[in-house]
Symmetry: C4
Subunit: 245 residues, 4 copies
Amino acid sequence: MSNGDIFVGEVIGTAILIMFGAGVCAAVTLRHSKARASGWVVIAFGWGMGVLAGAYTAAPLSGGHLNPAVTLGIAIDTGKWDKVWVYLLGQMVGAMIGAVLAYLVYLAQFQANVREKGSSEEPTATLGIFSTIPEIRNPVANLITEIIATIALVLPILAFGLTKGLGESGTTVLIVSLLVVGIGLSLGGPTGYAINPARDLGPRIVHTFLPIPNKGTSDWGYAWVPVAGPLIGGTLAGLIYNAAF
Amino acid sequence: MSNGDIFVGEVIGTAILIMFGAGVCAAVTLRHSKARASGWVVIAFGWGMGVLAGAYTAAPLSGGHLNPAVTLGIAIDTGKWDKVWVYLLGQMVGAMIGAVLAYLVYLAQFQANVREKGSSEEPTATLGIFSTIPEIRNPVANLITEIIATIALVLPILAFGLTKGLGESGTTVLIVSLLVVGIGLSLGGPTGYAINPARDLGPRIVHTFLPIPNKGTSDWGYAWVPVAGPLIGGTLAGLIYNAAF
Amino acid sequence: MSNGDIFVGEVIGTAILIMFGAGVCAAVTLRHSKARASGWVVIAFGWGMGVLAGAYTAAPLSGGHLNPAVTLGIAIDTGKWDKVWVYLLGQMVGAMIGAVLAYLVYLAQFQANVREKGSSEEPTATLGIFSTIPEIRNPVANLITEIIATIALVLPILAFGLTKGLGESGTTVLIVSLLVVGIGLSLGGPTGYAINPARDLGPRIVHTFLPIPNKGTSDWGYAWVPVAGPLIGGTLAGLIYNAAF
Amino acid sequence: MSNGDIFVGEVIGTAILIMFGAGVCAAVTLRHSKARASGWVVIAFGWGMGVLAGAYTAAPLSGGHLNPAVTLGIAIDTGKWDKVWVYLLGQMVGAMIGAVLAYLVYLAQFQANVREKGSSEEPTATLGIFSTIPEIRNPVANLITEIIATIALVLPILAFGLTKGLGESGTTVLIVSLLVVGIGLSLGGPTGYAINPARDLGPRIVHTFLPIPNKGTSDWGYAWVPVAGPLIGGTLAGLIYNAAF
């Protein structure tokens, strides 16, 4: 795979992933959405099907990593590091584009996020649509959660042979997508499961700069946790894989 | 594939798709349905499994496009335009038949959609069962939503090789179905995700002419958005695919 | 396949199907169940995964029809009628065994289905756990619903080649299961989707004879609809398939 | 497969399974979880995707049994008993590790499980996150439920050929995962579906020893049911399989 193909694939694939993921958070969060308050099962399946859509599309170009933690785990496993920077660059650019696309899909909903006349309902803070917010703010516990949840993503991917090329098997894409559904359902409760540094950092940058009405804080004080946790988790998954398999 | 096979396949497949899709909207909307008020996850899976049922059935005859936006994207990709009119004709006829079938499945429920004696509950407007209605009526924003959501459908289909024949692989049908589940969950909140001109226009025509009690407006003023949006989206997906892959 | 294998396969497979299906209805209906009132999505997935479990198990022995309407559609398609009686006999016996198994799984719950001391809550009628009950009792409309919903089951199965042996492909089992999930979500609202004569008749017989506390009526006046509707639907699906494909 | 590979595979795979399963119970049960009170469908899919993640990962090393009842059923079918102890040891060790990992993922939530100032809400008993608790305590009925539900797991696995190596087919892993989703939805209502002695006993030991605030009883009086029931069920499944197939 050429650097150009990898970059384009990761940009498109990660943009699709984040558009679906931020999109489903917007769908469940914002007033005037048909999916408003439809619950955690919708969040978990929305993100999982985002992986399906993104990896599915990126597979022929880049193999569809869409996640620096996955790229890192694969690099540790295979020992090939020369393309890593291309993957990471594509993932960050793609994540930012995806967040903008989700904003555009829900444009009218974001613009309507104001206190309505005669209503006492406050506008909704929008950061949770873009990036993760822990339920209980405890950096050590939050970091542990993100590390373990990322191992639960990367170790199965390595074990089943994502490294051999995601594009070869539709079933593999499907299983990884359902794996992400499961991580959301089971391990997402405390921190909202970043498990992907680009997934959290890219949209947070977009949230900081986009002119969204009543958007509230971008909470940069927490931003290191969903970057460091998944990078540590991806590294540990690669090391566990090399030791055990 | 002969024109006859394509036409029959698209009629049957699109009829099944719309019967499931309009059916699940009836199931969740109408009084006296066992699935009443069962939520957005039911809507999204109902439409997704409609794609599975319809594409599954149409695949051996026509490849199972079931959607003018998909046909358009594939034509742009392959450069073959001579069969496009057969696909579109079949899709429109099928969509209308499917809407009638959903009406027949819920016949007793539609007939019971009257103000009951002593009740203050008004009959339910039924257009939302047949065609899409935006949560916030804003043609520019609604068009953007439909364009982006349709790209999110057609680009992955092109990338994974639907053009090589849907009938060859059960897994492909399954993945496209789950992709549609994901589009519903993530991108369906603002407009109800037409992402298919036939899916919206065919049932709207049926809604206009069927003698449904208390059916309310057919809202023809909005009808151009869920036709134009998906056609633009399918075209853009074809162009992006040709440029990037 | 020998008659013995077919019979054993259909008994085991249909018993598993009905155990899951009646089981999920018990799970959602009965007091003292962890899944109480968990909604229509649980019902639809429970029945769908029952098809998966039953067809999966029966496939190597009988091909896993589990449904007289499927057997009928396949016989019309292939013109082979000599084994049909073995399939039907196995399906009826299996359906009755499955209903008894579901009763045993929820034994303590059924026994606790009494008016509790000091409570005004009446015991729950249990027929809906075993057999279908229409929301609106209208034999013509109910029959139309069952006919169309059964065509939506059997026609895709024929088109995708169930007749070539379900056992050959795990993906086919999976897709048929999700098809049944979709039929439940989209077409199950009016009658509770029998779409299978054995699924309704076998458990109704068991409901009549089992000594369940406070079980209420077995409603034999409606019993012909979920038998006749699916048989007509399966026949029509076979005829449509032969004409169109 | 060497004893070392089997042990490592079963430890890792069962740890992942239990982490997902106990995790989803924590997600739905504990205050300050984003998935709080999200319902039975979340529980059933969380455990099912835990099977997917664990079996997926363990498959290349051990075939991914993750369950003494499955190992027992396979041993009865194949007549090979010499590796059984390695499987069981790995499963027990893995189940305990998985319970600790779920505790770590929800560390802040467990620590916040105290009566909050000025609130009358009592802390939540936590055993249900780790092990099963019957809705109605009736050892005979509970045992019957666990026996039948385990047959519904092991018999389909045997019939579809898990014994030929789970690692060979991603589709098989997927189907077994959805089978477990179905067992949860349909048969989990009365006892919470242990269907796996290691799944219940390992986490119960961990619950007994972990210093969890306000953890409540570990209920050892019930512990034999979710061990004996699945072992009997796995044995019966093996015998039925040998007789019928």
